[in-house]
């Protein structure tokens, strides 16, 4: 900390701003959680007593459970595919030299800046033109496109810090490239692989825009949640499931972060 960066009163001002921002960011989330325990059926002050009824009702809501299972399936399929493709892409970007590499890098990261509405309509046109009916698989295909850049962004930095001499040593000892990858490289980048899988999973699970164009008759969880917002009397249940998902996504993101840190330590040989 250098004194030239901030004066004493200025420091208190910045602390206040930081605290205000933290409250601004967390208050809506906490309000959501608070009202999920509200006995009343509308989210109005004052709170009419606490209850866990809404949470208990979730277990008997078949449409909700069905949508959660659909989303879990889509998220697993798409994130496994995205991680596999992401590993291949990262290996070629970090370990190989080829013509047009910068173009390939650009293409691999481009979905990050693609407006999801346009991605949705463009795939809708593709599937329509090709005569492919919309289903959970069309959503899965789109989610692989959406999540692939995330996996590349997580894997490339990790891979580029793996000591190359380890791989060369394995190859000098006669291991074929595939064996070298499985026995040497993969264990070293495994935390990043896990982390990219978790991030891809969360992104897919929460994705509404692209799915809204491509989903067939089996609603994913965000689609179901959206459809429920039209009915005010379903709000308490929506808040309850929202709270559960909030906690789950928070835990998964935390796990991804821990996994990355863990990988950092392993790379440094601690």
């Amino acid at each position: 900390m250098s004194d030239i960066a901030i004066s004493r009163p200025g420091l208190w001002g910045l602390r206040a701003l930081f605290a205000a921002t933290a409250i601004f960011l967390y208050a809506p989330i906490l309000i959501l959680v608070l009202f999920s325990f509200n006995r009343g059926t509308t989210a109005v002050f004052p709170i009419q007593g606490l209850t866990t009824d809404w949470y208990r009702q979730l277990f008997t809501n078949h449409d909700l459970i069905e949508s959660l299972r659909t989303s879990a399936l889509v998220a697993v399929l798409s994130s496994v595919t995205a991680v596999l493709l992401g590993v291949l892409m990262s290996l070629s970007l970090v370990r190989r030299r080829f013509l047009g590499k910068s173009v390939v890098t650009g293409v691999a990261l481009a979905p990050l800046v693609m407006p999801y509405v346009v991605l949705g309509i463009s795939l809708l046109i593709l599937f329509n033109a090709a005569g492919i009916p919309l289903s959970i698989f069309t959503v899965t295909i789109a989610h692989v496109v959406v999540t692939l850049p995330f996996t590349v962004l997580i894997l490339v930095p990790r891979l580029s810090r793996v000591d190359r001499s380890l791989e060369e040593a394995a190859q000098d000892l006669g291991a074929p490239p595939a064996r070298t990858f499985l026995a040497v490289t993969l264990p070293l980048i495994l935390p990043a692989v896990v982390s990219s899988f978790l991030i891809a999973f969360v992104v897919s699970f929460d994705e509404y825009v692209v799915a809204s164009f491509l989903v067939g008759d089996r609603a994913t969880y965000p689609i179901y949640l959206f459809s429920q917002l039209r009915f005010p009397n379903r709000l308490p249940q929506v808040l309850a499931v929202a709270t559960v998902m909030l906690v789950v996504s928070f835990v998964i993101v935390l796990l991804a972060e821990v996994s990355q840190r863990f990988g950092e330590q392993r790379l440094l040989g601690r």
């Binding site: 109005v44 290996l91 990050l112 593709l126």
Partner: protein, 296 residues
């Protein structure tokens, strides 16, 4: 002796080339098939090079000229630009002091605090929107509180289903993310520059404007672009909290592919949005440097 040696070298490089192809082809093929090709299809659709429904006109620029000739959609586009600009500027203004505080005024805990600020961005997007719906609705948290406490007699109607709501919620959504690139540029800045400015007698404000802020402009520009680009094509937030008055360009596209049912005009809007995003990326390309900003 020379020839066989050469041919093994040649074979080796051929094999390596094939191995590279085997690595890069699956992911690249996926993106060509399900990302690039569909974009080409939208472009074709917008000029009638591809038609799927009866109201699509074969090979025509009519949809384009109707759009560009002062249509409601063009007006909606400019409204979306204004909203996206407002959101990006607000998000940067709110995030800058936080990033500055974390990077330059805290000691050991700065990464923990940074994670604390970013975490809301990593949790479900939908649920954060939902929270604001609950807060801003005419029977929502804010209004019921105002009525209950006696500060207002009637609910404030413009809180939800208004451009105000869209701008507020989008700013809320983006502030944590915006902290990241600004923090990175401030954190990696050479501190001795600050000391030097101080030693040379510059005041704190002067040091901030002439040194710190200038050093952080790449981060600020990157942050601005990272908010502006997705916001200009935003679709869910206006749908959930915007109402008809808060509709944006993305909603018009979705509507034309949904109830509005005019895929040709919708494709024109989509291609136009892509072109605009491309231009913005072109302008900000140098400061965006995706891989550097996102990998710590």
């Amino acid at each position: 002796m020379v020839r066989p040696a050469r041919s093994t070298i040649h074979q080796g490089s051929l094999r390596r080339g094939l191995a590279t192809l085997a690595l890069v082809l699956p992911p690249l093929g996926w993106l060509i098939l399900f990302f690039l090709a569909p974009i080409v299809l939208v472009g074709m659709y917008s000029v009638g090079g591809l038609t799927l429904y009866r109201n699509d006109v074969y090979l025509t620029l009519d949809a384009w000229s109707r759009f560009l000739d002062g249509s409601v959609y063009l007006a909606l586009f400019w409204k979306s630009v204004r909203m996206a600009l407002t959101v990006s500027v607000l998000a940067v203004l709110l995030a800058y002091p936080v990033a500055y505080y974390l990077a330059l005024c805290t000691k050991g805990r700065k990464y923990v605090l940074l994670l604390f600020i970013i975490t809301p961005f990593l949790t479900s997007y939908l649920l954060r929107l939902l929270a604001w719906r609950v807060i801003l609705g005419s029977h929502g948290v804010v209004n019921s509180f105002l009525l209950w406490s006696g500060m207002r007699r009637a609910p404030v109607e413009w809180l939800l289903h208004s451009p105000f709501a869209v701008i507020l919620v989008l700013t809320y959504v983006w502030v944590p993310f915006v902290c990241l690139p600004i923090f990175v540029t401030l954190d990696t800045m050479d501190r001795s520059l600050l000391e030097a400015a101080g030693d040379l007698g510059a005041s704190r404000w002067r040091t901030f404007w002439r040194v710190t802020f200038r050093m952080s402009t790449p981060g600020v520009l990157a942050a601005f672009a990272f908010v502006f680009i997705p916001t200009i094509g935003e679709f869910v937030t206006p749908l959930l909290v915007g109402g008809p008055k808060g509709f944006m360009f993305g909603n018009a596209i979705a509507d034309l592919f949904g109830p509005g049912f005019d895929w040709q005009t919708g494709s024109v809007l989509g291609v136009f949005l892509l072109l605009v995003v491309g231009v913005v990326i072109g302008i900000f390309a140098r400061s965006m440097r995706l891989s550097e900003v996102t990998s710590r």
